[in-house]
């Protein structure tokens, strides 16, 4: 899908776990590593806190891409949260794919507190992917759109 609105800029929601990825984003900031301002970070206690409905709701309210960042498997602050999240998100992504939603719009990335560079690189990549995919038309809610 091509971009029809010349003023369109992607809106990205990033769910970041408090213990690793949020600190990773912090490190990216303090290390002066840039990532696009289109990424809006929502801090969650654990990637496992991300209810599938959060992701759908983000899309419904106008997000063009949703990325979930958590601790590397095995490093979860709560021991096993991201293992559960991994299964759950796999199922959700598969279902979105099944309903014909573009595959690139959702992503999971494990970013540790020491990986500021990875955070910045991931976000740059993701924004590029979403920019190429264009506006999210399939998942939106018309009531949430400004005319």
């Amino acid at each position: 899908m091509s971009v029809t609105n010349p003023n369109w800029k992607p809106k990205i929601v990033a769910f970041c776990c408090n213990w690793c990825s949020y600190a990773g984003a912090d490190l990216a900031g303090s290390g002066r590593m840039s990532y696009p301002a289109d990424v809006k970070i929502i801090r969650v206690p654990c990637s496992c806190r991300v209810n599938p409905m959060f992701i759908l709701r983000a899309f419904e309210r106008g997000a063009d891409g949703v990325i979930i960042c958590g601790c590397h498997p095995g490093d979860c602050h709560y021991t096993s949260g991201n293992y559960y999240a991994r299964r759950r998100l796999t199922m959700l992504f598969s279902m979105l794919d099944y309903l014909g939603i573009e595959r690139g719009r959702t992503r999971v990335e494990w970013v540790s507190a020491a990986e500021g560079a990875k955070f910045s690189k991931t976000m740059n990549e993701f924004v590029e992917t979403i920019t190429n995919l264009g506006e999210n038309r399939k998942l939106g809610d018309i009531r949430c759109k400004k005319s």
Partner: protein, 289 residues
Amino acid sequence: MNSIKSRALELLSDGTVKRVIGWEKGEGEADWSPALFETAEEMNSFVYGDYAGSNLSKYCLKFNLAEGKTLVVLKPCDTLSFNQLLHEHRLNREKFYIIGAGCKGMKDENGRLLKCNACKGKDFEVYDEIIDDEESRKPLNVFDRMIGVAELEKMTAEERYEFWRGELSRCIRCNACRNVCPACTCVKCVFDNPASGVQSKAPVTDFEENMFHIIRAFHVAGRCTDCGECSRVCPQNIPLHLLNRKFIKDMNELYGDHQAGVGTEERTPLTSYTKEDAEPSVVHERGNA
């Protein structure tokens, strides 16, 4: 099968059970509905036979805390749902007397039920006694239940999107699929929350029905026994089982075969994990985009 009726009547009369959950005839010939019988007199309208398609496990929830025992008639596939509810500690086994009823495949006015075309076998997971006959022990001819899912997976993303728009935009949000589902047992449902954003009765937007159906299927993923009640009750004939089966298929492929409601294992694929699980990107890497 008259013997089920007479046996139920016997247990009701001698006080072993206080009530019976079964079926009675509705308005049409093929319209049999679940019913509660509390006296011998009421038992006159008890029926069991070719049109007793509904799964009575869900109705047990209401009587879990009631006084005395409840007799419930369950077909082989219904016992899976009942057993799954036992796994989840939603039902107390002591409070129920289960008659396992032989089943030759159930029908409605359009012929054999969809769920019976994917019959899961004739074994009873839980029962106090079984009343069946030679005929009902014979396995049914079944189709591979994942054919529908596999066909959709072969389509392109655009075709799938169009297919599901066509199906799900017919949804009138009657919530019948939720209400009938024996795995949907929350006392307070997320969809009844006015702040959930998905409680509207009228389909006003593109994505709202999709969201409702994704979440509905997701909430029962891993616990769904594929009893097919959701599709059976849908007044708009939306093939909801295709959503549930997609989850079942994915979980079987990625996390090993699992049939909800079998045996005594309480963990479901989504409430367990292994360290070697596939990364979520696996779904983006396979086949058709």
